[in-house]
């Protein structure tokens, strides 16, 4: 009887074990998928933040430390339009874009152009422009502080869960990813197929020769700075859909942008997207294992890149 019981228990136990194992394996697959989706969603925003900085430094040669302040401006403009006029944040992108572009374009035409003309070479200009950007950071941040204060602002936009093959994530994050991809694709096509895009690429590769070939370098550099500001503004608008915003939020996004640009390669739009998604994925994987290592891993990658491949993955 005992043998029989034992036999029975073994036989009946096997399917139960198999089911449990299948359930565990499925749970693990869902968890991995969940982590990957979360990484891609975050990566979209990182990429968009970095595209702007990459343009500004890679082409216009302005290491824009105040990049995050343009992100903040985009976020606050979207918040105001949504909370006061009920304008959909995605429509705000179209409204705010030209406005932020003009700020960036005007800044280059005035501040950076005068620095460029007073600098004997580009290396001196880079140093001067970086210092000017520090000043800009404080000016923009303090003006924003005077207008909006230091309070957290926010609104709830599509903060509902979407279940995709077992991975649950917020709908607003999916919107930000799709918007970031769309903006990136449009900008890539602009650079690849338009006359102005070709001029920008030529200026990025060799500004002197591009100038000799009839490209209005000053105009192109100002345009690049303007486009960089637009990208930052777009990123800010998308960030405001998912996170609380604050007038002092800029610097932390500037740091992320610098890491992504170093990872993807200076001046490369595709590189910024590759870097953004890579960093998003790495961040998500690390957070799921040990969240406390999140920033340490970012800085480790940054240091490693500077040592091994300073020009980044797709840098020239």
């Amino acid at each position: 009887m005992s043998v029989h019981d034992g036999f029975l228990s073994v036989r009946s136990g096997q399917p139960a074990n198999i089911i449990t194992s299948i359930q565990e394996a499925f749970g693990m697959i869902v968890k991995i998928f969940d982590v990957l989706v979360a990484g891609l969603l975050l990566g979209g925003i990182y990429a968009l933040i970095a595209v702007g900085l990459s343009l500004q430094y890679g082409v216009a040669r302005v290491f824009n430390i105040s990049h995050g302040e343009f992100i903040m401006l985009g976020a606050f403009a979207t918040w105001i339009l949504y909370t006061t006029a009920g304008i959909n944040p995605l429509i705000s992108l179209i409204i705010c874009g030209p406005f932020v572009f003009l700020i960036g374009f005007f800044l280059h035409k005035t501040l950076f152009k005068s620095l460029l003309s007073s600098s004997p070479n580009m290396n001196v200009f880079e140093g001067k422009s970086m210092l000017a950007c520090f000043g800009l950071l404080f000016i923009i941040q303090n003006i924003a502080l005077l207008i909006w204060g230091a309070d957290f602002k926010g609104y709830s936009y599509l903060n509902v869960g979407i279940n995709f093959l077992g991975a649950v994530f917020a709908a607003n994050r999916l919107v930000t990813l799709l918007a970031a991809l769309a903006i990136g694709a449009v900008f890539y096509l602009f650079l690849a197929f338009t006359r102005m895009g070709k001029a920008i690429r030529a200026a990025a590769q060799d500004p002197k020769t591009a100038g000799l070939m009839g490209v209005n370098i000053n105009q192109v550099l100002a345009l690049c700075f303007g486009f960089g500001a637009v990208m930052a503004g777009f990123a800010g608008a998308l960030i405001s859909m998912c996170y609380p915003i604050q007038t002092t939020m800029g610097l932390e996004y500037t740091v992320i942008a610098i890491i992504v640009v170093a990872l993807g390669g200076m001046g490369s739009i595709v590189g910024s997207f590759v870097g953004g998604f890579l960093l998003g994925l790495i961040g998500s994987i690390v957070t799921s294992i040990e969240p406390s290592l999140y920033l340490i891993v970012f800085y480790f990658i940054f240091s490693l890149l500077l040592l091994v491949r300073p020009k980044g993955i797709l840098g020239r």
Binding site: F152, N159, V160, T247
Partner: protein, 414 residues
């Protein structure tokens, strides 16, 4: 013999000049009390200047000056207050330098504290070195409380982990029947102390702590941590984080449909602004936070809440710190009146030993920290838009809601 006489005459003239000019001016020409402060007006900590102690000291100065000032017996008159506030840009090194400047160069009569626990830690040593009384505001820590005997001129008013929020939280959890918990904490003194104390106190009550995770202050996505807690199916989720992580914790939990039976938030959960940031009072219904006080705590609290609403935007209200910060200012004012002096040694003795009548009722310090019976509450819970005190005992203004209600469906506008 001539030379010594000459020096004697010169010396006498010098002393007479000093007596003529400095002594009478210092005693009779005193026409105001200058109070200095190094506050984080810009930078990451600016939020606290705008929502925590910042609006209160401004309101206090306005109120004091409206009634002619504080009566200081040794000057025989009321002296109005003049504030001298510098922006430390949320930088601790700048803050300590500015504090030195205020005391040594600007020669302010009194000082108010800087923002945050870590800054208080540094400022307490500076104040003590110059023998200047400083009553802390935003911040408090167990490790800071352990060094109080070394900084006798420093006093703390805000509650912190073992003073007495985490023991009270464990009592509440035991009462409502929480069996298991998950903790996420920020990697700084606040997070480390709170997570340690919470885990200790919960274990004493037989509540299993199934997850403890730490996160950097600017983590962008907390969903992996929330999902881990969801998988562990714990009753309570505790987030000892600052507002930039606290608010997204609520928003992300709502989006992914993670609704633990109890959710307790660190700094941020106590601010009225959470309702504005997270999408409305109904979103935070049943969410717990560190604190707490409200208009029902006492008639004095009701009056105080009314006064706050007359002087600031509703979104600036802080249901953890505002009553104790006001208490700190009232204690300073009453200590000056009691001693009739701006002498820091006299003020220190008075604050350490006397009892004061404040918004909290009878108020006194024990080991330079506000005594436990003085507080209006330790743990709050959002119920119908009010941050109710849910401490067991007479301080309770509403019974705890358990389990927490489900997250509301998004509004049509969304």
């Amino acid at each position: 013999m001539k030379r010594p006489l000459k020096y004697f005459k010169l010396g006498t003239c010098f002393v007479v000049l000093i007596l003529l000019f400095s002594f009478p001016f210092s005693v009779y020409a005193k026409d105001k009390i200058v109070i200095g402060a190094s506050r984080s007006i810009s930078g990451p900590l600016a939020f606290f200047e705008e929502n925590a102690f910042g609006p209160l000291y401004k309101m206090w100065v306005k109120e004091i000056n409206a009634k002619g000032g504080i009566y200081v017996k040794e000057y025989g008159k009321k002296l109005p207050i003049e504030m001298l506030v510098y922006d430390d840009k949320s930088d601790m090194g700048t803050m300590t330098r500015l504090l030195d400047k205020l005391i040594l160069q600007d020669k302010v009569d009194l000082i108010l504290p800087p923002v945050s626990t870590a800054f208080l830690f540094a400022a307490s040593a500076v104040a003590n070195r110059h023998k200047y009384v400083m009553i802390g505001a935003e911040g408090g820590a167990t490790s800071l409380s352990e060094t109080m005997d070394k900084v006798p001129y420093f006093f703390m008013v805000l509650q912190f982990s073992n003073h007495y929020q985490m023991p009270v939280m464990a009592d509440i959890f035991e009462e409502i029947g929480v069996k298991s918990a998950a903790i996420n904490f920020i990697e700084d003194l606040h997070g480390i102390e709170y997570s340690g104390q919470a885990s200790n106190e919960l274990s004493k009550k037989g509540i299993a702590v199934k997850m403890i995770k730490s996160t950097p202050p600017d983590i962008k996505d907390v969903s992996p941590i929330l999902k881990e807690a969801q998988r562990l199916n714990v009753d309570a989720y505790l987030s000892f984080t600052y507002p930039p992580v606290t608010f997204p914790t609520v928003m992300t939990a709502q989006a992914i449909g993670y609704n633990p039976k109890a959710m307790l938030l660190g700094p941020g959960g106590n601010f009225e602004v959470i309702k504005y940031v997270c999408g409305g009072a109904e979103v935070v219904e049943g969410v717990m936070g560190e604190g707490a006080w409200n208009a029902k705590s006492s008639p004095a609290h009701a009056e105080f809440a009314k006064k706050l609403l007359q002087n600031m935007k509703p979104s600036q209200l802080d249901w953890w710190g505002h009553d104790v910060y006001w208490t700190a200012l009232q204690v300073l004012e009453q200590a000056i009146e009691k001693t009739g002096s701006l002498d820091h040694e006299k003020l220190r003795k008075s604050i350490a030993n006397d009892k004061f009548n404040t918004v909290l009722g009878e108020t006194w310090f024990e080991n330079q920290m506000l005594a436990e019976p003085c507080y209006a509450g330790q743990i709050g819970q959002w119920q119908n838009g009010i941050f109710e005190v849910i401490d067991p005992g007479p301080k309770r203004t509403a019974a705890p809601i358990y389990p927490k209600p489900p997250w509301p469906a998004p509004k049509p506008k969304e």
